[in-house]
């Protein structure tokens, strides 16, 4: 990662340093899904072969709330995968999880007892943030492969401990930044790498909602408040920057191949004065090497623009979003060599401007040579979502011993950025991010 920082942004986008800075390979699950979208028959033959050879994988899941249940729903679709145990302390979540995992799944109230089961090869963790590191470290020490939801850890020291433990024990550690497994994001990154947008100078990203972010507590029972609304309390949570912003900071780090060097910000508890301890609105600016800025906002009083990342370069703008059909490109009027014609069948009016809907189909048709050469081109017809692909790739790694595409070092870098952003808002001053902070 530190090598990547030495590559200047200019080099990066002119193609010179790209190979060093950006990963040129796709996660195999993503490549397979793209093949299936183009040629379901051939993909089915591959899948059938893989399913015949697939060794059974016995998994456990720790933390079975909403996110844990979503993750488990993706896993139980995979051939050969069985969720044999879950750990949680909240009965309604256990009940819901058992419906997904099946009646034979063993339930633990203490995750350490679950880790004692020798037949469990891998565990997923979707607990409140402050528990990620202790559980992940115990799991890796028990020689389990780990999938840890993002943000990776509550503190930078914990994140570093996780990376060290993974590297010392050789245990697999994948972090849940599922955009890294999105065909659409890989396609968008490919266009960035090809220089379509010129020199990237600014990134704007936001995750805006209109709502309190508070879970309703059954029967309004105050004993359950902190258990269910842990995201609102500082002992367990890092607030909006961690729960939402961390995805988008990671995308910026990924697309630029860089880490920020400084951050400023303003946040506040201004609208939901309900006893919460984390900001209900955050706005921060990160500075990256070479002067690139990331302006980030997450608010809870207006959902306009919901969530996307907007990469602004000297030749054009790229908007990427997990929301289906939201990824767009806009040309700067001064950019004559933008090659708009390639994508022109997908024009769409947004406000007063005409943009181009990102649809990989257009580029695959235009660029057959590249496709046969195996260049990563996303296809909007891919039939699996990012979570499914991230977890499928994790299971693949468990089976093959392959290193994960989104590993602990990526999670650590993201954790450093989020914690620095919160610190900048709390202190009301500029916080510097040194190379040292990203080192293990």
């Amino acid at each position: 990662m530190n090598d990547e920082q030495n590559v200047s942004r200019r080099d990066l986008l002119r193609g010179g340093g790209m190979a060093a800075a950006l990963s040129l390979t796709l996660p195999p699950s993503v490549a397979r899904a793209m093949l299936a979208a183009q040629d379901p028959k051939a993909a089915a033959e591959e899948a059938a072969k893989a399913a015949r050879n697939a060794t059974p994988v016995r998994l456990a899941w720790i933390g079975s709330g909403v996110q844990g249940q979503n993750d488990m729903k993706q896993l139980v679709k995979l051939p050969g995968v069985e969720i044999v145990a879950i750990a949680d302390i909240y009965e309604p979540h256990i009940e819901a999880a058992r419906k997904i995992a099946g009646p034979n799944c063993e339930v633990f109230r203490d995750y350490r007892k679950l880790l004692e089961r020798k037949d469990i090869q891998a565990v997923g963790i979707a607990t409140p943030l402050y528990l990620h590191a202790p559980i992940a470290i115990d799991a890796m020490n028990a020689r389990k492969a780990v999938y840890c939801e993002k943000m990776m850890a509550y503190t930078v020291d914990q994140a570093k401990d996780m990376v060290r433990t993974a590297e010392r024990t050789g245990a697999l550690l994948q972090v849940g930044h599922q955009r890294r497994y999105s065909p659409d994001y890989h396609h968008a990154l490919d266009l960035v790498k090809k220089g379509y947008f010129g020199e990237l100078t600014h990134v704007r990203a936001q995750w805006n909602r209109n709502g309190s972010w508070r879970r309703a507590v059954p029967g309004n029972d105050p004993k359950l408040e902190r258990l269910l609304n842990w995201r609102l309390y500082r002992s367990y949570s890092r607030g909006l920057m961690a729960e939402l912003g961390s995805h988008q900071i990671d995308v910026t780090n990924w697309f630029t191949g860089l880490h920020p060097t400084a951050v400023v910000g303003i946040g506040g508890i201004d609208h939901y004065k309900d006893g919460r301890e984390v900001f209900d609105n955050v706005q921060v600016v990160f500075e990256y090497p070479g002067g690139l800025k990331l302006c980030y906002q997450s608010i809870q009083t207006n959902a306009y623009d919901d969530f996307s990342e907007q990469f602004m370069g000297t030749k054009g703008t790229l908007i990427v979003s997990e929301a289906s059909g939201r990824s767009m490109m806009f040309r700067e009027s001064s950019a004559e060599d933008f090659e708009f014609a390639k994508f022109s069948q997908n024009k769409q009016k947004v406000g007063r401007r005409t943009g181009i809907l990102l649809d990989a189909g257009a580029t695959t048709r235009q660029d057959k040579r590249e496709r046969t050469a195996g260049t990563a081109l996303a296809n909007s017809g891919v039939s699996k979502n990012n979570w499914a692909l991230a977890l499928e790739d994790w299971v693949d790694c468990v089976r093959t011993g392959r290193k994960p595409f989104c590993d602990g070092r990526i999670g650590l870098a993201d954790t450093v950025c989020v914690i620095a952003a919160n610190e900048a808002m709390e202190r009301g001053s500029r916080v510097r991010l040194t190379d040292e902070m990203f080192k293990v």
Binding site: A37, K73, S212, A216, V217, P218, S324, G381, S383
Partner: protein, 304 residues
């Protein structure tokens, strides 16, 4: 689901109810991600893409929903059928308002329609299609299923009184309102949506309506409803609207479609075989318009 969901919650604590409403309204969004036919990355799109070529393992709750839809298909003798995507495409209802297809195209689509073309493996919870071109389409149960899930969540949160609907055509009444035993749900007149045909009393029950006035297209003055008869391949006729009341909204969603297709006599036969519902049908009068409402089973309906 391309549908707006609304919830009305009753209770003493406004803040709690607002949080509960926001929370349960996430459910249709989550289910849309799983059941949508428009999103290429939904579980249903994945199934339709891959199942002609390989066995596709489903998430257990989706597997259960599909098998439940297949049971309803069997009970309705195919008047409702979740494996009807090929037919929906053929009629241009998938994304557009519809078109009149050639008879050959309808015959071809019928070859790819019907639950009989699905092979289910309950041990692996997997599904395989008998041929290419088969498409599972859970549009006729998805909305109701979402309402059932929302109602379960509200009960778990301790909410005792709520009225929820998806696109107004499917409703779930949880408990009763603050000032009465049961919720009153109006049925609109097929010829005049502003006019109320009658009122149904609901308490811990679901109601769904299928009508020819909801979605249709016209060719040379003839009206073609979006509700297709999977047995003939053509839009169903003879009924202007079919309303079904039962314990589950997923069931009423599917059964109102089935009743619309089956007509009065067919729905009576269905009721004899599977009596867990009640219905009111408005048959088409000879020469158009609405005939007198026909009740099937025990329905708390007051005609206006």
């Amino acid at each position: 689901m391309g549908t707006e969901f609304e919830v009305l919650l009753v209770g003493p604590d406004r803040g709690f109810l607002e949080d509960a409403a926001a929370q349960v309204l996430e459910e249709p969004v989550r289910l849309e991600e799983q059941l949508s036919h428009y999103r290429p990355d939904s579980d249903i799109s994945d199934l339709n893409l891959r199942a002609p070529h390989e066995s596709v393992r489903l998430e257990p709750l989706l597997y259960d929903l599909l098998t439940r839809a297949m049971r309803l298909a069997a009970a309705s003798e195919g008047a409702f059928d979740p494996a009807c995507g090929a037919l929906i495409r053929c009629w241009g209802f998938f994304r557009g308002r519809g078109r009149l297809p050639e008879a050959d195209a309808v015959r071809e689509a019928l070859l790819h329609t019907g639950c009989g073309l699905l092979t289910l493996d309950p041990v692996h919870r997997s599904v395989r299609f008998g041929r290419e071109g088969v498409q599972v389409h859970l549009g006729a149960v998805g909305k109701g299923y979402a309402l059932d899930c929302m109602a379960d969540q509200l009960r778990a949160l301790g909410v005792q009184s709520a009225l929820l609907h998806g696109g107004t055509s499917s409703v779930y009444a949880l408990g009763g309102p603050a000032d009465g035993e049961s919720w009153e749900v109006g049925l609109c007149h097929p010829d005049d949506r502003e006019r109320r045909l009658g009122v149904v009393q609901l308490r811990d029950r679901a109601l769904s309506t299928s009508g020819d006035y909801e979605q249709f297209f016209e060719v040379e003055g003839r009206r073609y409803s979006h509700i297709l008869d999977p047995r003939t391949g053509y839009p169903a006729g003879g009924v202007r609207s079919a309303t079904v009341v039962a314990a589950s909204a997923a069931d009423t969603d599917a059964l109102s479609t089935a009743a619309f297709v089956l007509g009065v006599e067919g729905t009576r036969r269905l009721h004899t075989r599977a009596p867990g519902f009640a219905a009111v049908l408005i048959p088409e009068a000879p020469g158009g318009g609405c005939d007198i409402a026909v009740r099937i089973g025990d329905i708390a309906l007051e005609l206006g």
